[in-house]
Amino acid sequence: MKMSESKKSARREETAGLMEYSTENLVPFGPIHPALKEPEYFKLVLEGEKIVEVIPRIGYVHRGLEKAAEGRPWVQNMYMFERTCGICSFVHSLCYGQAVEELTMYKVPKRAKYIRLIIAELERIHSHLLWVGLMGHWAGFETLFMWVWQDREIVLDIVETISGNRVHKSMNAFCGVRRDMPENMEDHIVEKMKYLAGRARYYREIIDTEETMLERTQKVGKLSVDTVEKLCAVGPMARYVGIQNDVRLNDPYAAYDEVPFSIVTRNEGDVQGLLRLRLDELIVSTDLITYAVKHLPEGPIRVKIPPVIPAGEHSSRCEAPRGEIFYYVKSTGGRTPDRVKSRQPTLANLPAALEMLKGQTLADVPIVLTAIDPCFGCMDRMSFLDTETNKQWTWSGEQLRQYGIKHYFPNQSRNSPILKETHP
């Protein structure tokens, strides 16, 4: 009895416990292996096939932006924070810009607000399409991945025509945008939005009927409303259980208070619900862009402001494709900020993701982790510890993906030599 007690406490120290509200029973296991010197991304503790615990280790993309921002001029920071994330870059610079603009006495022109809305929604479409494609890839449905990414090129072409770049648009400036909408683009954009909405409906049909997707996404990754709220999940992770958490509705910014916006929520609470949610949001985005492009007001696109920002503190939030982005800015009246704090939505959704993984099988891990739409590096490496067999091993994301496909569709998958040599 004493032996297992000390093992129990040893394990508790190693894993540093679970979140307080969870009612997990600790299962004693053998000696801890300190052999894993390489810092892993996630450490998953299994009991046979089921996951019982997940310990996150992020910091792979920690570059020290917040410290660097304190030494750079206000305007330079805007383009640095844009590169926090390649997929939701515009919203980062928008949120930072909004937080700083409020400290000055200048107002953003109306036309700029509409252009900001158009670019933000284009970014949302491209991000959701990217995600749907990746879900197809992880589920083993390569065709979906290829088709969706081809449709995504349409969005990137429009973005390139407006801003000059596909990924880091650099459209934002303080109190305005840097470039105007090109002339005679209205019809082209409206036509493409109609096409994309049609494609989204088609993909919706696929995920509702295609067996590959149904098997992998139905009833996977379930969370209750109470858990989601307590874990402060944001964006689609909150809306997929029915919580009306959308900054565009609750705290409108840019031109969202002037355009007809309808929030999308679902009640399924599983990954299939997330798929439906994001595709529906895509359709809403196409409507928003069509409306904004048709009702674009005339006027200036920018108000130039002095490089010194008055003292004060302000915070701002925006709805990125992944959820709520939050920026807090503090100025002491100089040319450089005193403190800039940015909180990405993936950090907010991480506790919910860890909770979603519990009780799932190993084969579901890539689907569940991708479902939160993570924006950190990639799922490079995961380490596993099976408490029943005492085996420990490390897999790359690709190995895990192939394991998942083999588990669900044993007759279809190719015999992967890589899986043979690495599967314990």
């Binding site: 993309v61 590169r83 997929i87 290829m146 990414w149 924006c375």
Partner: protein, 140 residues
């Protein structure tokens, strides 16, 4: 004779392993976009492989921070000879816009030898393909 055949095969069908060393994902999504039908790097024979032991070419994206430095070195050692390294993007070349930040290195060439730099923030898929193919032209 066998050596010539080997070189020809490697030139015609480079197996590429991609590692993300603390990147913002911009370069990564442009790399993945080069696989999609619009750009289709696979028609040149390039294939993304899941393990470094099967690769000829290593593509590195991102600034190299203290956490990923050792991992990058280890992955480079796992690649079988002869190997080539492509540093993708401004961050991999010299730190990009993050140069001087406290957890950012000086670029990939500080850690492992680099054969080809593809500039851009992020580089377009066409630029990536040009970089990969130009590198193969160097393979003797």
């Amino acid at each position: 004779m066998l050596k010539q055949l080997e070189t020809w095969a490697r030139k015609r069908s480079p197996w590429v392993y991609h590692i993300n060393a603390s990147s913002c994902n911009g370069c990564d999504i442009e790399l993945v976009a080069s696989l999609t039908p619009t750009y289709d790097i696979e028609r040149f024979g390039a294939v993304l492989v899941p393990s470094p032991r099967h690769a000829d070419v290593l593509i590195v994206t991102g600034t190299v921070n203290a956490q990923t430095k050792d991992r990058l070195r280890k992955v480079y050692e796992q690649l079988p000879d002869p190997k080539h390294v492509i540093a993708l993007g401004a961050c991999a070349a010299a730190g990009g816009v993050f140069k001087g930040c406290y957890n950012v290195g000086q670029g990939v060439q500080d850690v492992i030898p680099v054969d080809m730099f593809v500039p851009g923030c992020p580089p377009r898929p066409e630029a990536i393909m040009y970089g990969v193919l130009k590198l193969l032209g160097e393979v003797k």
